[in-house]
């Protein structure tokens, strides 16, 4: 097989520019990457640099650095997103500006770094890596382009150190949310994670839950699947159990000002999960008396959803039914740049949406949630 790549990316970006929507948008799921393995070292104490060289990282789950690549596309990313100066997709600010931010008129871009040090068994190393990633986000991205805002990544399995990291960053305008992943050692509603919610609520920061993670559990409740296709749909199942746990453990009740953002796992399943939760809660309420209201009420009040990968049913009425249940004020547009299942802003929302709802979908909801004027 002879695969050739075009040498110049000029035509690709001019194409993107032509397709671009001119309306200002927010992109609530952008993945910045490190250009090299050691790019974080300047933000890590010598002690941890040495530790990494000598011991590496031990995660709860194998293949911490990402499953065998390529996955669907090289680095699970768009083939046209390699920066001209080299390095993996998503590792160059100037190329991200040229390919994503400028042509799409992105007014707010929320960074969600993956492989950030979460899910590492050595909690001190995990905390150090997360803190380094946060410094790196400021240095390499948010201080250089005011449109970009970071997500505070935290050593999620150690609630106390995670809360300390959030408190340290609270009030720093470089960050607009706290980032967790959906696959953890335990379901996200459990007590060990509560200090995170408490600190986030105090800081007035939403908590994003992005698909993926390194908790060590299989992605499906019935075990490890054979195919990547199954993994892709497994993310929504995984988010469903995370959300059920948050509702039933009483996290929403205990932290009524907490805002959660479900990132990159779809939203079409939200109504049916909520209906099912309400149904069993009515019958089994006495088991969880701390859940004072039907779970669906907490979900509709305290949960937001990013759009990518945008739900794409055959009949657009089906899509509108789901969104009407969730609320047009709850969706946050996202591209997932530079990943391969990227959603093109001008192509995801079917016709037939009112101007107000379009504006909310593409920009307004995000600005409001993340407090951007």
């Amino acid at each position: 097989m002879n695969i050739q790549f075009r040498e110049s990316l000029e035509a690709a970006s001019s194409l993107t520019a032509k397709n671009a929507t001119k309306t200002a948008i927010a992109d609530c799921d952008i993945h910045p990457a490190r250009a090299s393995r050691t790019e974080l070292y300047p933000y890590l104490a010598k002690r941890w640099q040495h530790h990494l060289e000598v011991y590496g990282v031990h995660a709860y789950q194998g293949m911490m650095d990402g499953p065998p690549y390529p996955k669907a596309q090289p680095n699970a990313s768009r083939r046209d997103a390699y920066p001209p100066e080299g390095g993996p997709q998503g590792s160059s600010l100037s190329f991200m500006q040229k390919q994503l931010l400028d042509p799409n008129n992105v007014q707010l871009g929320v960074l969600n770094p993956l492989n950030s040090g979460q899910g590492i068994r050595n909690h001190e190393l995990s905390a150090a890596l997360c803190s380094a990633i946060n410094d790196w986000q400021i240095d390499k991205w948010t201080s250089k382009d005011k449109r970009l805002k970071g997500s505070i990544v935290v050593g999620n399995e150690d609630g106390l150190s995670a809360a300390a990291e959030i408190r340290e960053r609270a009030g720093d305008k470089n960050f607009v949310q706290v980032l967790l992943l959906s696959r953890n050692v335990e379901p996200l509603g459990q007590r060990r994670y509560w200090p995170i919610y408490q600190a986030a609520e105090e800081a007035g920061l939403p908590v994003g839950v992005h698909a993926f993670g390194f908790g060590g559990n299989p992605i499906t409740p019935s075990g490890w699947p054979s195919y990547y296709v199954e993994e892709m749909v497994g993310h929504s199942q995984c988010q469903q159990s995370a959300l059920a746990s948050l509702a039933l453990e009483g996290v929403f009740e205990r932290f009524p000002k907490l805002k959660m953002v479900m990132i990159e796992a779809g939203f079409g399943w939200a109504p049916s999960l909520a209906w099912r939760l309400d149904n069993v809660w009515q019958r089994l309420r006495s088991e969880v008396p701390h859940v004072k209201r039907p779970p669906s009420e907490y979900i509709r009040e305290q949960v937001w959803w990013t759009t990518q990968p945008m739900e794409d049913p055959e009949r657009r009425e089906d899509l509108f039914d789901v969104i009407n249940w969730i609320g047009w004020d709850r969706l946050l547009f996202a591209t997932d740049y530079p990943h391969w299942d990227y959603d093109e802003p001008s192509r995801v929302l079917p016709a037939g949406v009112s101007e107000d709802n379009r504006e909310a979908f593409y920009l307004g909801n995000a600005k409001k949630l993340y407090g951007i004027s």
Binding site: N2, R6, L15, E314, S346, R347
Partner: protein, 137 residues
């Protein structure tokens, strides 16, 4: 229909492709085993530069466990969402919507049947004239 000379034949050996812009339209021309094909370099799905994807074959299966891989180097896979298009016809393969709505007739089909998708990439005419590859547009 205007004819555009785009390359001497030996500049486009089998297995290679050339990208160009004709009248502001992005085009890619492929040499597949000595035959030339042209495609609009824009994916009909969400608009990616389609022809930057890899050339692959067509995987088909008559039964789980039976895999046939044909048309080697004749299928282009979109660099974004991976939709597959036949270089010769521009036809896309495997749209899940079709799976959902299609009524399968109750008889045994040969293992080569693959569901065609609704999207068709725009093809352009390419030929060789006195050792130059020419695109008609």
């Amino acid at each position: 229909m205007a004819r555009h000379v785009i390359a001497p034949v030996d500049e486009l050996p089998p297995g290679t492709r050339k990208f160009l812009e004709i009248d502001g339209r992005p085009i890619a021309v492929f040499n597949i085993k000595g035959e030339y094909f042209g495609l609009m370099n824009r994916c009909p799905h969400q608009g990616a530069a389609l022809c930057e994807g890899p050339l692959i074959g067509l995987a088909q299966s008559s039964d789980p466990g039976e895999i046939e891989y044909t048309k080697l180097g004749e299928i282009i896979r979109c660099p974004w969402h991976g939709w597959e298009f036949d270089i010769r016809t521009g036809q896309s393969y495997c749209d899940p919507r079709r799976f959902r709505v299609k009524a399968y007739p109750a008889h045994v089909e040969p293992g080569t049947s693959v569901v065609k998708g609704p999207y068709v990439a725009e093809t352009v005419t390419v030929k060789v004239e006195s050792d130059y590859v020419v695109v008609e547009l």
